[in-house]
């Protein structure tokens, strides 16, 4: 069967197919809607696989995605029309579903307190993860300075470095995933992570030195432990992450 005779069969590959489908769906063509359901919606499942949602919830998400694509809200037209013909309908379906899935996860409290921003979370995670038990005890004496040093260190990173670190540490993204997101080779992503990590270590040391002063008791031990621990702890920490 040729493509011309079976537009639906080649839908995924052709802008024309999308256009046809979008037009059909927006005009209420039930056949087109069914095709959308059977052709594009299944892609939602692998796209959301990482979220580990139950099958029933995934079914819900599919239905709501469909609904959002086709109906729109009082102020906006149906999503599907905005995308028709641009070859991005597949991606849109997944993005809408992802957003739904992410919100469900967040609602289920698999994240830290709502008041914390991702960077607060990152700072917390880095500052506890980077310390040996010995220096953790010492840390209690200097909790404030310590947190602050990490906070400043994280804030001083470039947006990208911070973002990459966040993806890696908090969301457990692999270098392949980070590379894919940024459209760069995995080695570049790995380098970014390494640089961010190094940078944090150096900055924390520097901030601690200046905020606590070299003479302050215990700081040197703390730094000493940091010096030897940062590289290893971080590298051990990074691949694990806290993710959802």
């Amino acid at each position: 069967m040729s493509a011309a005779e079976d537009p639906v069969g080649t839908l995924a590959a052709l802008d024309a197919g999308e256009l046809w489908l979008a037009a059909g769906c927006s005009s209420g063509d039930r056949w087109a809607t069914r095709e959308l359901e059977s052709t594009l919606l299944p892609a939602v499942v692998p796209a959301l696989a990482h979220l580990r949602l139950e099958a029933a919830v995934l079914e819900d998400i599919k239905q709501i995605t469909l609904q959002r694509l086709l109906t729109g809200s009082p102020n906006t037209s149906a999503k599907i029309l905005e995308y028709a013909g641009r070859g991005r309908l597949r991606a849109l379906v997944k993005v809408v579903a992802l957003r739904l899935g992410v919100d469900i996860i967040r609602r289920r409290g698999r994240e830290p307190t709502e008041s914390a921003t991702p960077d607060d979370w990152l700072v917390e995670r880095l500052s506890t993860g980077m310390l040996s038990p010995e220096s953790r005890a010492m840390k209690t004496e200097h909790t404030h300075a310590f947190k602050e040093a990490f906070g400043v260190a994280v804030q001083e990173l470039s947006d990208r470095a911070r973002g990459v670190l966040r993806l890696h540490v908090l969301h457990q993204c692999t270098i392949d995933e980070i590379g894919a997101l940024h459209g760069v080779h995995r080695s570049t992503a790995a380098r970014w992570i390494a640089e961010a990590r190094d940078s944090i270590g150096n900055r924390v040391r520097r901030h601690l030195r200046s905020s606590l002063g070299l003479t302050s008791q215990g700081v040197e031990s703390l730094l000493e432990s940091l010096d030897s621990q940062v590289e290893l702890s971080l590298s051990r920490l990074l691949p694990r992450g806290l993710g959802s």
Binding site: A91, R107, E111, R160, H171, D176, A180
Partner: protein
Amino acid sequence: MNGEHDPVTSTVPDTPGPAVGDPAGDCLSDEQLVELACGTSSLGWLDQAHAHAATCTRCAALLAEVGRMRARESPDPTTVDARPPSLSLRPLAVGDRIARFVIEDELGAGGMGVVYSAYDPILDRRLAVKLVGDHRRSEQARLLREAQAMARIEHDNVVRVFEAGEFDGKVFIAMEVMEGGDLRQWIRRGEHSWRQIVELFVQAGRGLDAAHEHGLVHRDFKPANVLLDGGRARVSDFGAVGFISGRDHRITSDAIVDEPDAGGAVTTIVGTPRYMAPEQARGDTPTAASDQYSFAVSLYEALTGQVPESSAQCGSTAVAGVPRAVFRCLARALAPDPGARHPTMAAMVVVLERALSRRARRIRASLVGGALVVGLGLGGILVPLPSSPCASPEDELSGVWDAQRRAELQSRLADGRQLGDAEWSRIARTIDDYAESWGHIRHEACLDTRVRAEVSESVLDRRMACLDERRIALEETLALLLDDRASGRELELVYELPDLSVCDDLSAVVSDVALPLTEEHREEVERAERARAQADLALIVGGVDPALESIDALLESTSWQPTQAYLLATRARLLLGQKSQQALHAWRGAYEAAVRSRDAELQLLLEMAVVDYLIGTNELDDAGFWMSVVGARARRKQGKRAVQLARMRASLARAEGHLAAARDELEAGIVLAKASDSAKVLLDVLYGDLGGVEMEQGNTEEALAATELAVAAATEAYGAGSLRALRWRTNLVSMSLSRRDSSWVERELREILATAGSLQYETGASQLLAMVLRIEGRAREAYAIDEARSDWCVSRLGPTHPQTVESLGSVARDLMLLGDTEGAEAMLERAVAAPRDVPGVSVQLLADLSYARRENGDLEGADEALSRADDIVAASPESRPRWEAALHQERGMLELARGRPRLAAEAFRRALAATVGRAPPAHVAVARLGLARALRSDGQPEQARAEAQRALAGLADADDGDSPLAREILDFLGEQ
């Protein structure tokens, strides 16, 4: 947003609006996310998205999920791990380490190895780490050899190898990262002048020559193995290493590496047929001449686009613009007979350079470098790794403990320390066993997680960390054994390697890394902490036995290993403080426990305690060794620790006779102690030690002042009745002996003894009182005190404790004064029979024994005792003027008794030389008096008189003009 309603429908916002709080910037729209998912976003926009995600959990999560989605679906092979699923057993991941190098990414994989980009945390640089292996042991050994040879080559035209070693049964080579592509890629881009080409090949030729100089044959020279960087060519992938590793997939496309045939014969033919020398193709061992051949083929190909058919054909080749000399040069290098080629690579390079320079004036070389910066070129097919990530157990510790290290250690121990065969084999077997079980546990741990999937990755991480720590411990221990400064004591460390079974014990591994305290453990910790406080108190104010008992009881009931280690350490410190016979044994056990619990702080504490102990027993070599361990471990400590370290350094310096250094350390320590609340409790010790040092330097005023401060500090910190305060008071009395009358001294000492009560024998006051009474001629009273103290020592400390030995010596002196020289001799025989050999005490006792035997008429026996003492002094690595002075003095007396005044005079002169300017005036005077006696016996009355008068003058200068010694000298003068 409307987050309160469930189910799912309510989670759908109408717009992708704001999420948590009020984050900076707009939330990511669906449209933006779609662009992202399709890979059409710009990096700049993504950075903005990251900035927003810093404060928006929802968008942060969406970004991550889109990244995941994209990675999963990306059709772009360069962004996806293209290894087939059979390799789900990943070899090494980002963050893993090869030696100290932290892996950042995998750059490529070849037939027998893989290349990673990595980070060197020590030198803070990025590099490439190639990990190559061969299951054939002989090949593996060759790999390592060649890798290490490469590391020795430092040449501009050779890719720098920073380090090579073994890791996980493979050879690793840490080398510089080259980002300019290779010569083959450069040639393929075309449009290069012959001069540019030859210039780069000349560079490569120089690199090859450098390798040949180091005895390395490349075996696979070709343009793809020449890397370019900023116009510079560098040869890489030398030898077997280069071969079977592959810098990337290229190797497998055109190089051949044969495997042993079915019969097991290993006939390795490696190389790339296109470039291979005929002898190499036949299977002969490639030589430098084979490299020359490959080089010539490569250059010919670069110039003509074809490989040469033969040497003759090459010689007759003519290419417009290229000097004929170039082809003639290549023709010689292409001779089928290796012997007919250029004698060396260097010679060939010279010929090529000459060809270049001949035309240099005519054609100016264009910028070569500018055109060379290209991408890394990592695309293409990645070849699956043949080996499992769970490398075979053997050889995982190679480089740390393998045949080579073993041989090295054996020769070091045998040559340097006359280690017996039995002891060596015990040590070697211990390390062998350790290494073997390390490898086994590591392999099993890997299989548990990666193959059997029974254990989670995070536990594997911990197990590997555990094993890593133990590998490092082994490494460090071996390094210590091989260290030139090793003193012998470190051999014991082999038996104290951290316990391996912890890494095999999942629960232990988990607890070791995360230290999750249960309620029960927490209680144990608390009890142990109390016991420690009690023990510290006991060390200060006495009452060691009850402290020991309570620790022993706690040890019975404690189950948690870190706490046990802590208790053992406390126990050991108590026993060390007691100079107990079991102290070193207990210390060793505690140190082992501390090492096992990876408790560095505890180890430091124990190391410090043993330094103190060893200084006390005058085992200065060992003390110096442990002091250096302590110094390295605690170099940046502050507060109390820093003060303790200063004090220990001072004690060691003092014991070694470096008094000025000791004083400097103590004064520095006092400054530190005053500045730190926690360290103030050490002030009395610092002052007390300072007093002692000042006294030894003859600065009585300063000594008294410092000691008074010590008494005050101890009284303030621990009370007037504390052992510390009483000890400093005793010291004060002993320093005042020459300036106070004896009744004051006696009164003061008796008061100290009364205050001390049961601690009286530990204050030193009874010893001093006996001495004073002895000097006063009240030998009977002195004897009573000394005998009681000696009994106490024997019963409390045991017959061989240094203090017991010393007390026996005191009793002997009393007996001598009482005229019972035979009783004294018997007492001294007992004392010197003690197995513990403390040089200082022994020398003194032997000198006394010599005296007693001399008095008893046993001149030969006296000589024997003196000779033994001489041997001890001679065996001591440092010069000990005080011991020497005492022995020379005794020797002089003996020779006088034997009627050999010349020998006696000589001995007294030596005694004098050892005392003048070093010892108190009385000691000098004694030596002079002896000399005077010898001179008189030798018939030199005038000289004798002069010496005696000088002795008297010396005493008068020291306000000692009417002491018994002065009277004795006057008597001597009167006799004349």
